[in-house]
């Protein structure tokens, strides 16, 4: 009975952590889907969301909602600048160059934040208190519900955007075939910019809503980014349910691994699963295989 209780808690905690990964994974997938770029600086967008909110709240003394809006807006602008200054100037970029550039950008952003706001960890007050909520013998915090809620909203938003707006459809067209998209009059450059902007916004939003739980500092982005990327790969880099399921599975496995096997090897378990998926099903857990065209 006690074991059952524990496992319930492991699963619930895992789902809560997993939805964080899912949200970050979604922001990875948005850029990947329209550009084929894996943005290694994605974690820094998440970090910026949290750090900027705290800055607006504590230093500018804005109310919480305004602080969040400022944080997301500023991060979005940084995403835009990043694309303009670091991605756009590259002609005929190879994946290799893009990996190196985005790694460089992540180091740069982290360094700047460290210099501007110091190295201390900071906490954001929870949006709706910290009284635990009991579900089937396990407990959750109200902040977890915020995370679930925002994740669902972001998925719905992505769906609507990609399936029902001109820009969204254009971005999808770019992901299928850039040359063809260009031929039918879609400005591929603009779509790449768009995807960075949207992804920065989603990433920073994730950063904001998780900050009350995980706290934030200049270096939180690295691990969160990696985990988000794992989630996205498990879901086959789709910007929909696959990535969310990937995130939830990753979170749950991690939590079960920490609770039942070994807490020290928790991350190793997560990366081991990532490797297995890459080896066996590189197209993700939920997608059908496709042949690469030459």
């Amino acid at each position: 009975m006690e074991l059952l209780n524990q496992v319930t808690q492991f699963v619930i905690s895992g789902l809560a952590t997993g939805s964080i990964y899912a949200l970050i994974g979604l922001s990875f997938a948005i850029i990947f889907n329209s550009t084929g770029i894996i943005n290694f600086a994605q974690g820094e967008f998440v970090m910026l969301g949290g750090v900027l909110t705290i800055f607006s709240l504590n230093v500018l003394h804005l109310p919480l909602l305004a602080a969040i809006v400022v944080a997301v807006a500023v991060t979005t602008i940084i995403g835009l600048l990043f694309e303009r200054l670091a991605i756009r100037p590259l002609k005929n970029a190879t994946p290799l160059m893009l990996i190196i550039i985005t790694i460089g950008a992540s180091i740069l952003i982290r360094g700047l934040v460290m210099l501007l706001w110091g190295k201390d960890t900071q906490a954001l007050p929870a949006f709706s208190g910290t009284d635990p909520i009991s579900i089937a013998g396990a407990t959750l915090l109200p902040q977890h519900l915020w995370i679930f809620g925002v994740t669902v909203l972001v998925i719905i938003g992505c769906r609507l955007f990609f399936n029902h707006t001109i820009s969204g459809k254009a971005m999808r067209a770019c992901s299928f075939n850039r040359r063809a998209a260009n031929l039918v009059g879609i400005s591929v450059g603009r779509m790449v910019l768009f995807s960075f902007v949207i992804s920065a916004a989603v990433g920073s939003l994730a950063g904001v809503i998780i900050a009350p739980l995980t706290m934030t500092a200049y270096d939180v982005g690295v691990m969160l980014g990696l985990k988000g990327f794992c989630a996205a790969i498990m879901g086959g880099m789709g910007s929909g349910l696959g990535t969310v399921l990937g995130g939830l599975i990753l979170g749950t496995l991690e939590s079960l691994g920490a609770g039942l096997i070994s807490s020290g090897y928790k991350d190793a378990i997560a990366f081991f699963i990532l490797l297995l998926i890459l080896f066996i099903r590189p197209q993700g857990l939920f997608k059908k295989g496709e042949t690469e065209r030459v």
């Binding site: 894996i38 670091a86 190196i100 550039i101 360094g111 210099l115 990532l274």
Partner: protein, 321 residues
């Protein structure tokens, strides 16, 4: 062919003579690590610059080499030279085994998989406390000895490390200018075309991956005997990225570029002394600007710059006359 030989001989001569005016000072110590980093960067460059396969987990092989030698010599009293060879072979075998599934992946997926291998190895070094001493590190590793000669001073270690480094540099130079090197570069340019030409791309990628792991492991062993203390955070993701930065700055696909990059980045903290906390930003900026404006690295950039300057001067001289 001939000029390549002469270039290497000049380089080797410089390497062997450099410590003399330094008289065992602090710089000698830094240059030991330049030697180690040069070979690590070179290993990564063979993989990334020549064969076009990225690895963000190079530090793992370096760490396995260091810990393998460290543990075998301290806990089991194995002869350090024997340990070095045995460990390097084991690490190479490990790389060979994981190479087949890992190198089937391309681009971002390959980057992520190698990163994953790096993270897992680092966690393993941290968690196997009984063996490795865990996060607090492993101390009391003996210096290397040959007969009655103990490598316990900076000068001796300098020659120890650089003799190994020069050997590996020479072998790498031979390799890249041979049938094998041509195959690697062909894979880099167009894997499909290379395979249609009968190049066994899959095997060659794994072979060069194994070679770079072997080189890293040897350097890891040397590192542990030079330092006599090792801890897992020297072998993390951060260091893999530092190696990547070295070859991007020095020059992808250039043996000497790897060495130039290692030299600059190992001395960089020295040059950035006035910046203190800013060096992390300089790293980031260097990675971005070099990739955008000088994708060939400094080994290509400096001659190009000189070429641009020299005719310019001729023109001005001409106008003066």
């Amino acid at each position: 062919m001939k000029s390549d030989r002469i270039k290497f001989l000049v380089f080797a001569l410089v390497v062997l003579l450099v410590p003399l005016p330094l008289s065992g000072g602090y710089l000698t110590n830094v240059l030991i690590f330049v030697g180690i980093n040069s070979v690590l960067a070179l290993g990564l460059n063979l993989l990334l610059g020549y064969a076009g396969q990225i690895s963000l987990g190079q530090a793992a092989f370096f760490g396995l080499g260091a810990y393998g030698s460290g543990v075998l010599t301290t806990a089991y009293g194995v002869n350090p030279w024997l340990a070095m060879v045995a460990v390097a072979l084991c690490v190479a075998l490990f790389a060979f085994a994981i190479g087949f599934p890992v190198l089937r992946l391309k681009g971002h997926y390959l980057a992520m998989a190698t990163l994953g291998v790096g993270v897992i190895v680092n966690i393993a070094l941290n968690e196997t406390v009984e063996l490795t001493g865990g996060p607090s590190g492993l101390s009391g590793i003996p210096n290397l000895t040959i007969g009655s000669l103990t490598f316990d001073s900076d000068l001796k270690n300098y020659y120890l490390v650089w003799v190994f480094a020069l050997g590996m540099i020479l072998l790498s130079l031979n390799l890249v200018n041979s049938r094998f090197g041509r195959g690697l570069r062909a894979i880099h340019d167009s894997e499909v075309a290379a395979r249609v030409m009968g190049v066994n791309a899959r095997l060659m990628k794994v072979q060069v991956f194994t070679l770079s792991a072997f080189m890293s492991a040897i350097m890891g062993s040397l590192y542990c005997h030079v330092m006599t203390f090792i801890s897992p955070n020297s072998f993390g993701f951060h260091f893999s990225v530092e190696l990547l930065t070295m070859i991007v700055i020095g020059g992808l696909g250039s043996v000497y570029g790897s060495i130039l990059g290692a030299l600059l980045l190992t001395l960089l903290p020295e040059m950035l002394r006035t910046f203190q906390d800013y060096d992390i930003i300089v790293y980031g900026l260097l990675l971005i600007t070099m990739t955008i404006y000088l994708p060939g690295g400094l080994v290509e950039g400096i001659p190009a710059l000189l070429r641009r300057l020299v005719p310019a001067r001729k023109v001005t001289e001409g106008s003066d006359a």
